[in-house]
Amino acid sequence: MWRYLGRKFTIYVLTFFLAVTIDWVIPRFMPGNPVQTMLSRAALRAEAVEVMRGYYLKAFGLDVPIWQQYLNFWKAVFRGDLGISVYLFPKPVMKVIAEAIPYTLAILVPAILLSWLAGNKFGAFAARRKWLDSTLLPLGYFLTATPYMWLGILLAWGFGVALGWFPIAGGYSFAMTPHFSWKFVLDLLWHWFLPFASLFLVMFGGWAIGMRNMIIYELEADYAQYLESLGAPRRLIRNYAFHNALLPQITGLALQMGTIAAGAVVTETVFSYPGIGSLIVQAIQNQDYFLIQGCFLFIIIGVLLANFLVDIAYLIVDPRTRRGMLGET
């Protein structure tokens, strides 16, 4: 088993290295450069511009050859230093991200886990039940085919604008300053609900449809037929089918992780939610190399970590994988 985990770990390290390299390269392919943007914002005279340019290039470490910049970048990453934001100059990227990350995690983690759990439960429950099945199926396909931001906009309009039940922007009311009190926590939850719901609903549809199809497949499987011919109750057969149908859903969860991160970007943008997603959009618009790198670094780490957890979960739930690993090594 350790060999299995070791192999997995090596793959993850390699993936991390490649992904971070790409993350470093991509922003630098953008036309223009961040210093230029800053200077044009400052609207200085020509001679002052040259001085400032030199200063900023040095400050951001952009005055050395490109390969040197790359090496410096890795060195800094291992020190936990992600550089200084251009857009929010002179705030360190680490600090900017640290402020945004709780918001993103607060909508992503519950949305992923709850939609997975609820979707699977509901899909399994609806499979082979006439009424539910014929209503769930179209609804599920509709939800899963819905773009995150479109559903977000619909929810914001319906519950925010038309009904006025929820706020449509921000992580908390503008009138408040972040502090720890029930009033503030409730306010946070109030702002949290719509972005969470729009992610949850789209993913819920996908999981429910997937589970429904898997269960039907499993109920047709030989072992289910055999149980039925031995007079086993429907509940036992469904239980077995559910357990077996869950395995591909776990794999699906790992595969979904990347798209979900993208979903967070658009959802946060729709609701102006102060998470990593909104930050990325801001960073790209301002050519903030360091902030882009930092945000994507966190997404990369998040996706890899989640995949690793799924790998381990798979080892626990599927005896075939487990025995395969323990038996041969």
């Binding site: 055999y226 007079g231 109750p233």
Partner: protein, 324 residues
């Protein structure tokens, strides 16, 4: 008394193009301890007949007929009521025995779950289970293994032990040997006889297209063609002195060991079975029968002769004439 009596059983398949008459008015009976071979070509309805006695579910449709097990009617048309008869009264060794066990549950857990649903504790039946596993030479460790860790033969034996654990009155063995190699086939066949001899099961219906297997283990053979009974008689008589032209051709087409194709052409039956959607009128074999005559356009009667304990049934006009 007869252990099983099936009277005019009709089981159709519902399809968009109409009913496929897979079992169309089948009548037979079995005495206690009998091993009956159910033989016929693929698609003749033999599996449908066997399976309908255990689990009749869509697209299968019960159309008519009666089934009596030890004198009491078996409600095969009622899926729910049948559940209490399955496993304990009628049981099945499925065609797909190699994939019949849930791959993600240990064998012991699977057994516990199934037995629990019948209100039996695993510990209660464990001594008997151990005896039977010893009998079929399955080590006890199998219980703590996952099905995917067992070999094909082991899975087959485990399913056989499980299916017969509650001493069912009737066991349906559906193509139990078709996926196995010859030596394992023989062992499985011997086990079926052994189970009968030890009274683990009341009677066995062995569904197969392998007539030579039946010759070794069956007491009687039931030959089916296109959803109908063609001939039923004791194994010895049926193989040595078949009366129905179909049985004659079927027996003649068996390859003999030692015969080489180059010297002796392997016999077959020309033509193919009729569509069961709209089966031909009269005898269903008449389109391929070498001895067909005008009379065959009418439904042949079931000629039954009793010879001591043995009943011989033939559905053919030729048989009628001989007895007239």
């Amino acid at each position: 008394m007869e252990l099983l009596a099936v009277e005019n059983l009709r089981v159709y398949y519902q399809t968009l193009r109409g009913d496929v008459k897979a079992v169309d008015g089948v009548t037979f009976s079995m005495s206690p301890g009998e091993i009956m071979g159910l033989a016929g070509e693929s698609g003749c309805g033999k599996s449908t007949l066997g399976r309908s006695l255990v689990l009749l579910k869509p697209p299968m449709k019960y159309v008519g007929g009666k089934v009596l097990l030890k004198g009491t009617p078996l409600p095969i048309w009622d899926k729910k009521t049948m559940a209490s008869f399955r496993f304990s009264e009628v049981s099945l060794i499925p065609q797909y025995a190699l994939s019949a066990l849930n791959p993600t549950r240990k064998v012991k857990k699977l057994l516990t779950d199934i037995l629990w649903s019948k209100g039996i504790k695993f510990s209660q039946i464990f001594p008997e289970l151990r005896r039977r596993m010893e009998l079929v030479e399955l080590p006890l460790e199998v219980l703590n293994m996952y099905p995917f860790e067992l070999s094909g033969g082991m899975k087959q034996r485990m399913v056989m032990v499980l299916s017969t654990l509650l001493n069912p009155s009737l066991l349906i063995a559906d193509e139990v040997t078709s996926a196995l190699d010859v030596s394992t086939q023989k062992a499985v066949a011997r086990m079926l006889v052994e189970f009968r001899d030890r009274k683990f099961v009341g009677a066995i219906i062995v569904i197969t297209h392998d007539i030579s297997l039946l010759y070794q283990i069956a007491d009687s053979i039931f030959v089916m063609y296109a959803g109908k009974l063609m001939e039923r008689g004791s194994t010895e008589d049926l193989i040595q002195r078949p009366k129905h032209p179909y049985t004659q051709l079927l027996v003649a087409s068996l390859p003999r060991i030692g015969a080489r194709y180059a010297q002796e052409k392997l016999q077959g039956i020309p033509g193919c079975p009729p569509s069961l959607l709209e089966p031909p009128q009269g005898c269903r074999f008449r389109t391929r029968c070498p001895r067909t005559w005008e009379k065959c356009l009418e439904e042949p009667p079931l000629v039954t002769t009793k010879d001591g304990d043995l009943t011989w049934q033939v559905a053919c006009w030729l048989a009628v004439d001989k007895h007239a």
